[in-house]
């Protein structure tokens, strides 16, 4: 049901001439994609440094919340640029992205990383005790930072793998994979085949 609904939305977006023009443009798509990737240095770069401070790996002589506060703005600027360019990239190739297992995992991970970030921010904003000055913060902070690093790294990894066609709908895949990737037509074909047998 959700698969059909998502595919309808993607096909509707695909109908816009802008979507096709962007996808087939000589340089525009490459520029937007490069901006998306290079902004990783700003967004993920800042995030890495904040999380590594929370793990007690770097900037140990500087209070943990000072690092987090000073790097928050550049990190958020990077995040906004990545979200905007990400939406444009999705708009340029809506159907294939909707039917990409990697894109779907990426969206789930993004949501998980976002929830973790919100929880983590609250914990940081109200530091209980005096761990702010500790070179190595307490365990619950380190766990949050490790989770954040893992989730965001996984978001980048699944983002990169969208480019690979290993599990595209046109490949021969098990029914479960068709369902997970939202290959609605391929599922219908398999259903029909099964009913004829």
């Amino acid at each position: 049901m959700l698969n059909e609904w998502l595919l309808t939305l993607a096909r509707w977006l695909d109908g816009f001439s802008w979507s096709t023009e962007l996808h087939e443009s000589l340089y525009m798509y490459a520029w937007i994609e490069s901006t998306h990737v290079l902004t990783l240095m700003l967004f993920l770069g800042m995030l890495f440094i904040i999380d590594l401070r929370m793990l007690g790996v770097t900037f140990t002589s500087v209070p943990a919340t000072t690092i987090a506060e000073r790097l928050d703005r550049p990190m958020m600027i990077g995040f906004v640029v990545m979200v905007i360019t990400g939406f444009i990239l999705y708009f340029a190739i809506p159907v294939r992205s909707t039917q990409s297992i990697w894109f779907r995992i990426k969206v789930f991970l993004l949501i998980a990383a976002g929830i973790n970030a919100l929880l983590f921010r609250n914990k940081m904003r109200n530091p209980t005790g005096s761990w702010d000055l500790d070179p190595k913060p307490p365990k619950h902070i380190r766990t949050g930072a490790a989770l954040s690093l893992t989730l965001w790294a996984a978001v980048v990894i699944t983002g990169r793998t969208i480019a690979y066609d290993w599990y595209d709908c046109n490949k021969e895949l098990p029914y479960f994979m068709y369902w997970a990737a939202g290959c609605v037509d391929e599922m219908a074909a398999l259903d029909l085949q099964a009913s004829l047998q």
Binding site: A30, E33, S34, V37, L38, L40, M41, L42, F43, L44, G45, M46, L47, F48, I49, L52, T58, F59, S61, V62, T66, R70, L71, R73, P74, A153, V156, I157, R160, T161, Y164, W166
Partner: protein, 159 residues
């Protein structure tokens, strides 16, 4: 000096056998390349933006530079190791790719700049004793160089 024989040798090396045969391994190495690029870029940005007085003004620039240079070292090792592996998969193609040489030139300049100029100067002297103009031009040079490395690297894929 013609480097083609070197690229031909890489193309037939054991490393190339692995990188060409196993797409999955290549993809995993590429992920490390991308993640370490983010760390490298972050370390460069934080250090240089501090030298420019754009951020972290309440933290001494000596501390910022010392910490970011350590992260930079780690990131550079991963970037180089993963980069050499990725390169072995398409060595001959890269030899004839103009963007690859833009990237290698800026990478060489970037490494030279960091280890021959930026690092010795910033780690051995009190930053107050260095002219503000020198600090700022170093920061801009460093950001331009590493941005060129990353951008030309991305563009190899499109060219």
């Amino acid at each position: 000096m013609d480097l083609l024989p070197l690229f031909e040798w890489i193309d037939t090396s054991m490393l190339a056998d692995i990188s060409k045969a196993y797409g999955g391994v290549f993809a995993v190495v590429q992920m490390f390349h991308l993640l370490s690029l983010a760390l490298l870029g972050g370390a460069v940005l934080v250090g240089d933006l501090r030298l420019l007085g754009v951020m972290m003004r309440d933290i001494p620039s000596e501390i910022v530079v010392r910490n970011t240079l350590k992260l930079f070292n780690v990131a550079l090792i991963v970037v180089l190791a993963s980069g050499i592996f990725m390169m072995s998969a398409v060595a001959i193609k890269l030899y004839y790719n103009e963007m690859f040489w833009v990237k290698m030139t800026s990478l060489g300049l970037g490494i030279l700049f960091v280890y021959a100029v930026r690092r010795p100067l910033l780690l051995s002297y009190d930053h107050n004793t260095i002219s503000a103009l020198v600090l700022k031009s170093m920061a801009v040079t460093s950001m331009v160089l590493w941005f060129t490395v990353a951008a030309s690297g991305r563009w190899i894929g499109f060219s």
